[in-house]
């Protein structure tokens, strides 16, 4: 299942790359891209994963890299 989220206050390109790496390592996630330029994240969830729960995990990862960055639906 593929979902796209907008990100707010994603301020540095390297942080975006770090987030992308970290999110891709999550077992809930099949693949993910974080686009600094579009301020957007596309997540391909692994099969049978509850995306709401997985998103909470992803948000935690994002906050760890950039505390100000917010995920919008």
């Amino acid at each position: 299942m593929k979902k796209t989220y907008r990100l707010r206050d994603l301020d540095c390109a390297n942080c975006a790359a770090k987030m992308e790496n970290a999110i891709n390592k999550l077992p809930e996630v099949e693949s993910a891209t974080v686009s600094f330029l579009m301020q957007k994240m596309t997540v391909n969830y692994a099969e049978g994963v509850d995306d709401a729960a997985a998103l909470a995990v992803i948000k935690k990862v994002i906050h760890k890299v950039e505390p100000d960055c917010e995920v919008l639906a």
């Binding site: 796209t4 206050d9 301020d11 540095c12 390109a13 390297n14 942080c15 790359a17 992308e20 790496n21 891209t33 686009s35 600094f36 330029l37 579009m38 301020q39 957007k40 596309t42 760890k64 890299v65 505390p67 100000d68």
Partner: protein, 609 residues
């Protein structure tokens, strides 16, 4: 400017004023002013750095700036602490402005979304959300409004601005009976339109989906650089640590001096310029393409296009217009006009594409006509002004006892008789697109070495059209599956560092679009499959956009490489200078934000046109 950027600008100005005043004050007054300036301009950096340490995220650039300036304060270099923080924030502001600008060039594509739709129901005007428009609804579009759904004009005439939808800069004049695409802006008239698609299936919705997914496919170079940064950052931090510890501990050098060098080293080493310069180059390329009505789905597409050596075309609808028209007329007796008149009168009620081409070639033919019979695979027999007439193929002629002439004209032949006499022949065929040959020549000059044309059409016509546009290699009579197989063969024969692009109209070649290194759909928003399958979409049905796309791809790929080289060299030199103690902090900051900024400017250098 966003609010955040404005606030930063104000803070920079205030800090600069305090800094300037403090510069001329003596002793502790000066120190006080400098610390104040440092806090005004840098408090958010300091705060973020502190928070990051608590979260175990150290060694981002904010942390480094905080560390470097704190160390300067510790050494009572008040002015340096303030200046460094100021310089850093100015760089950050520039960087964010440049990024913002580039982002806008892409999202400008997004403002084709109609805000509202006015639906006419039982003579009443009802304002609704465009998403509530259904097929068959009558829509009222006033001057200045966007057309909410694809449809046909029922009433009114106007000039339409379709630039955002098709990339065509000239306004298009439309009147009743014409098809219009959603997203175009009505410039002057009032139009009543019958919706032929719901909003979700309309051109606007397709383009929006396309743009939404635009940044998903990242370039190879982009991935490599991110990976590089992954190893590079810890390596540099290790080196900085050694720089701070080894000389003082082993060689008894002054600790403060080497700590300062290590800090400079760290500031220089921030990988942001590297990480941002590559995607930004491609991103600006996507923006430049967007201005020409070309949607590119990501950096990797431009990268692949730049190394494309083989271009494979679908024939119908790509190299040719995909619609039939009268190509040649040969009279056996009488005039051309008479021949066309009789043919058009016979064919005017038929909806066969060949018949429609003939009707289109003769506007409003005069004469009393009674259709006797239309038979598929033969043609039409009729009575015109009381005399017998017929228009059809050789089989029809034979059945009427007339021997049609031998002909080698390309296309479908329609023979015409009137009053028992053979009048002549009309050849109807698809037409090569305007400038197809010139476009291919341009592409050849741009480095495409091999052109291949694929078609489901017969050998003769394939040969004809291939020759017309200067393509030497073609395959005829291919079923859609054959196209995929043949394409796979081309792909497997390709050299490793070269790519194969396919251009099609997306009607029945979606599998090939997917298989190609770069699949380009022409006028592809018409088909959902094409939008899914293609890597790039020419919104307008115009072959001439191809050289533009190729030029952008080559330019931006080159710029991405330049940016990497530039950032690496500047950083390398500054790192060495920093280690040797020749790089002051402002140079270190230049190596960080300055390089990022110049890389950004470089990325946009070529996109002005």
């Amino acid at each position: 400017m966003t609010r955040k950027q404005k606030r930063l600008l104000v803070r920079i100005a205030a800090a600069f004023a305090v800094f300037a005043v403090g510069f001329f004050l003596p002793g502790w007054w000066k120190a006080g002013c400098m610390v104040a300036a440092w806090l005004i301009v840098g408090y958010d950096v300091l705060w973020a750095a502190a928070r990051n340490i608590l979260r175990g995220q150290v060694f981002d650039e904010k942390f480094l700036m905080a560390l470097a300036t704190c160390a300067a304060l510790g050494m009572q270099d008040w002015a340096e602490a303030a200046a460094v923080m100021l310089f850093f924030q100015v760089g950050e502001l520039f960087e964010s402005l440049a990024v913002e600008r580039s982002r806008r060039s892409i999202t400008a594509l997004m403002d084709i979304r109609p805000d509202t739709a006015t639906v006419l129901r039982d003579g009443e005007e009802i304002e609704t959300d465009p998403e509530d428009v259904r097929i068959g609804d009558l829509l009222l579009v006033r001057a200045g409004e966007r057309i909410p759904a694809d449809g046909v004009i029922v009433e009114g005439e106007a000039s339409l601005d379709t630039a955002k939808v098709t990339g065509e800069a000239m306004p298009v004049d439309v009147c009743a009976g014409m098809r219009v695409v959603s997203g175009s802006v009505n410039l002057n008239g009032v139009l009543t339109i019958r919706a032929e698609s719901a909003y979700e299936q309309s051109t606007v919705a397709r383009i929006l989906t396309l743009v939404e997914t635009a940044a998903e496919k990242k370039a190879q170079t982009e991935r490599i650089i991110t990976k590089f940064a992954h190893y590079y950052t810890p390596a540099v931090i290790g080196a900085a640590l050694l720089l701070a510890l080894i000389p003082p501990l082993v060689f008894g050098q002054p600790f403060a001096e080497w700590l300062r060098r290590a800090l400079t080293f760290l500031v220089i080493s921030c990988p942001c310029a590297l990480v941002i310069s590559v995607p930004l180059s491609f991103f600006s390329g996507m923006g430049a393409a967007a201005k020409h009505g070309i949607v590119v789905k990501g950096g990797i597409v431009l990268e692949q296009l730049a190394r494309t050596k083989t271009l494979v075309f679908d024939k119908t609808g790509t190299l040719t217009e995909g619609s039939f028209s009268v190509q040649s007329i040969r009279c056996a007796s009488g005039t051309e006009a008479e021949l066309l008149r009789i043919a058009a009168l016979c064919e005017q009620y038929s909806n066969h594409p060949v018949a429609q081409a003939i009707t289109a070639a003769c506007h409003d033919p005069q004469g009393e006509v009674r259709i006797i019979r239309e038979e598929a695979g033969y043609g039409v027999t009729a009575e015109i002004d009381g005399k017998s007439a017929a228009a059809g193929n050789a089989r029809l002629m034979n059945s009427l006892g007339i021997t049609p002439e031998e002909t080698d004209a390309v296309g479908t032949h329609v023979f015409v008789t009137y009053d028992g006499a053979y009048l002549g022949m009309i050849a109807v065929a698809d037409r090569l697109r305007d400038g197809a040959k010139e476009t291919l020549n341009t592409l050849r000059e741009q480095g495409i070495e091999r052109f291949v044309m694929l078609t489901g059409d017969n050998e003769r016509s394939a040969e004809y059209y291939a020759a017309q546009c200067g393509v030497t290699e073609y395959r005829a009579q291919l079923l859609p599956q054959d196209k995929v197989d043949f394409f796979a063969k081309i792909l497997s024969g390709q050299k490793k560092n070269e790519a194969v692009a396919f251009v099609g109209d997306g009607v029945n070649d979606a599998p090939v679009l997917t298989a190609a290194d770069v699949g380009i759909a022409m006028g592809g928003v018409g088909s959902e499959a094409a939008v899914e399958a293609a890597d790039a979409v020419l919104l307008k049905d115009d072959l001439k956009k191809l050289p533009i796309l190729l030029r952008i791809a080559k330019k931006k790929t080159a710029i991405a490489k330049q940016n990497i080289a530039f950032a690496l060299i500047v950083k390398g030199v500054c790192l060495i200078l920093g280690a040797l103690g020749y790089a002051p902090m402002w140079l270190a900051i230049f190596a960080d934000v300055g390089v990022a900024f110049i890389a950004i400017l470089n990325a946009f250098r070529a996109s002005v046109k």
